[in-house]
């Protein structure tokens, strides 16, 4: 039956026989998509007297928003921080591969590098929508170089920097070459001069994340008050929780977070970076802030192919649900809704509300992926 064209001629797809993630639970509902967005079927029925052009039987599968990975350094032999002939092509290659693991949007991440690398790579990595060509690029995540020497982790020491005395984002513009297409910056707030940086970055719409830092709790709280809203891989590369000074970890239960704002925290839930018991403590303390990230790199001691980034996402999903003892909807939200909220795009991504982009994943009860959709178009199937 052709759809009634009173509002739009675009074809309408109805996903049937599925359980969708809505209102924090899995509900037995159909999902309607038109023009790459999720459609309100009630309005369609009564206002337009319209109906679906085609129905897609999901076979009882779970239908959830596509995953959003805000910390992804590369994969499949590509390292975003190592400039190649064509950095854009490297990003595109990874963007295509991660579709197999349900990631529909991501932030290519660059670790601490010399300015020459940033100047070469950043102009080639642009914000763009996803599609059959690959997951959408939401913007670059710059992890460093304004981080703590003591907590550099795997970052190269010789390229760490401080803010200098001038204040504002000028030191960043110098190092990075510009802030276009940058969606997030990880920095250490205890570095002198960080307040004005945090404030100005936040005003520019760049998400500020605290990480690779030896900040104490009040330094971290001040940074949050200036606008910081994320913690890069909680527990790793920061001072451990101490009962008299919880450090950055204490932000999860701090009472000095400005009203109406929330602090999100990234977790690499592979069971290796964080002991599952610690993951559970964080989750129970602040479940709404949990953001699953892969922090996957080109070569993490894992052979390329199914064992790299992609496999980790799957493991993370399954492992998280098992390890944290949280429910399937909570795990799914940690990989979709929460990162979208963190980046301030939850009206468009990370959710199956009417009007949101139809970036979807189909999975079975073991959370094994069956298909990935971007803007309502199938971009990968098992």
């Amino acid at each position: 039956m052709p759809s009634n064209g009173s509002v739009s001629d675009a074809p309408i797809t109805q996903f049937i026989n599925c359980r969708i993630l809505k209102e924090h639970t899995l509900q037995r509902e159909d999902l309607w998509v038109r023009d790459g967005r999720i459609l309100d079927p009630e309005k369609l029925f009564f206002d337009e007297q319209g109906y679906a052009d085609r129905q897609l039987d999901c076979g009882g599968a779970i239908l959830a928003p596509g995953f959003i990975d805000v910390q992804l350094n590369g994969g499949y032999g590509v390292d975003f921080s190592t400039p190649s002939e064509d950095p854009g092509a490297g990003v595109a290659f990874v963007a295509k591969k991660i579709l197999e693991h349900g990631v529909t949007s991501f932030c290519p991440t660059l670790v601490t590098s010399p300015p020459s690398v940033y100047h070469k790579v950043l102009p080639e990595v642009k914000v763009q929508s996803g599609g059959v060509h690959g997951a959408g690029v939401l913007g670059v995540h710059l992890e460093g170089p304004f981080i703590s020497l003591e907590k550099k982790g795997a970052h190269p020491e010789q390229f760490l920097r401080t803010f200098g005395g001038s204040g504002g984002v000028n030191p960043l513009l110098e190092v990075y070459g510009g802030l276009d297409n940058v969606s997030m910056v990880t920095l250490a707030p205890e570095l002198a001069g960080s307040q004005s940086v945090v404030e100005e970055l936040s005003q520019r719409g760049v998400t500020v994340s605290l990480g690779h830092s030896v900040a104490n709790l009040s330094q971290a709280e001040e940074a949050v008050q200036q606008g910081a809203s994320f913690i890069t891989h909680l527990f790793n590369a920061m001072l451990p929780f101490h009962h008299r000074d919880p450090g950055i970890v204490g932000l999860l239960t701090s009472n000095r977070i400005p009203a109406g704002r929330s602090v999100f925290y990234g977790m690499i839930a592979d069971g290796i970076h964080t002991n599952p018991a610690a993951l559970r403590i964080a989750h129970r303390a602040h479940p709404a802030g949990l953001v699953l990230v892969t922090d996957a790199i080109m070569a993490m001691g894992l052979p390329p192919g199914r064992h790299t980034l992609g496999q980790q996402v799957i493991e993370i999903q399954g492992l998280h649900a098992y390890v944290a003892g949280c429910s399937v909807p909570e795990a799914l939200e940690a990989a979709s809704l929460h990162p979208a909220q963190l980046l301030g795009i939850s009206h468009q991504k990370g959710s199956l509300e009417y009007g949101c982009d139809a970036d979807l994943v189909l999975m079975d009860d073991q959370m094994v992926l069956e298909a990935t959709y971007i803007s309502g178009v199938e971009v990968w199937r098992k």
Binding site: M1, N4, D30, P41, E42, L44, F45, F46, E48, Q49, G50, Y51
Partner: protein, 243 residues
């Protein structure tokens, strides 16, 4: 009349659903000959608890009905009288209602035909009785001030014109209304009683709804259940019909 008594709400609902299913199947509707189902009207559109939402979530989204074939009285229409007149005409154009399914209020009203409504009334605007407003408060967070006070409704006469009427009544709070509807006289204070004068009426209720009836009435109709249950035996679906 037929009075079908089931043990509880769930069984009564199931019986009613099967009956409707069977009626539709045996009617063998086609693209040229529709089965027209009538349902009581409800609250204005604008509110989240609107009847449109209610009908969508509880009925339309579960079936593949063409939206053009779903006619709901629009309480937000510019000209309410015209809206009512068009509705009556739509029913006539569709060939009349084959089966009207409704419930009754604790004050014995059918649709929003409150006590005192004419038994030959047509589709029109009605001011709701206090009882009805209180009963609807559950849809508005129990805040009486938020419940609409006016509604469009099909008339008693409109329902009487249907070829068959099914009234579903469950719960002890409806028991007195059921008594007034079937064991007392035809009276405009209990508008459901009008169906005593309809050739094909079926009342489906649970045990609690029979609490105010005479034991004799209840026993008589319970004794007929073996006949009634034949009405809900599965029939061949239309898909199996090759003719």
């Amino acid at each position: 009349m037929r009075l079908v008594i089931l043990e509880d709400y769930d069984l009564a609902s199931e019986w009613a659903a099967k009956y409707i299913r069977n009626r539709i199947i045996t009617f063998r509707p086609t693209a040229q000959r529709y089965f027209t189902l009538g349902l009581p009207t409800g609250l204005p559109r604008a509110h989240p608890e609107s009847y449109h939402s209610y009908m969508w979530n509880n009925f339309f989204k579960h079936v593949d009905i063409d939206p053009a074939n779903a006619h709901i009285l629009d309480g937000n229409a510019q000209d309410l009288e015209a809206e009512c007149a068009v509705f009556e005409k739509d029913i006539a154009d569709a060939g009349g209602i084959d089966l009207f399914v409704g419930g009754i209020g604790p004050d014995g009203h059918i649709a929003f035909n409150e006590p005192g409504s004419s038994l030959v009334s047509r589709t029109r605007v009605k001011t709701l009785a206090k009882d009805t407003i209180v009963a609807n408060a559950r849809f508005f967070g129990h805040d009486l001030s938020k419940v609409p006070t006016m509604a469009l409704t099909v008339g008693v006469g409109t329902v009487m014109d249907s070829r068959e009427v099914m009234i579903v009544i469950t719960g002890a709070h409806k028991a007195f209304a059921l008594y007034k509807a079937i064991e007392d006289g035809v009276n405009h204070m209990w508008t459901v009683s009008a169906f005593q004068q309809h050739p094909r009426t079926i009342f489906v209720c649970d045990e609690d709804a029979t609490l105010e009836l005479r034991v004799k009435t209840v026993k008589y109709f319970k004794g007929l259940m073996h006949v009634h249950n034949k009405l809900v035996d599965p029939v061949l679906t239309m898909k199996n019909d090759l003719s």
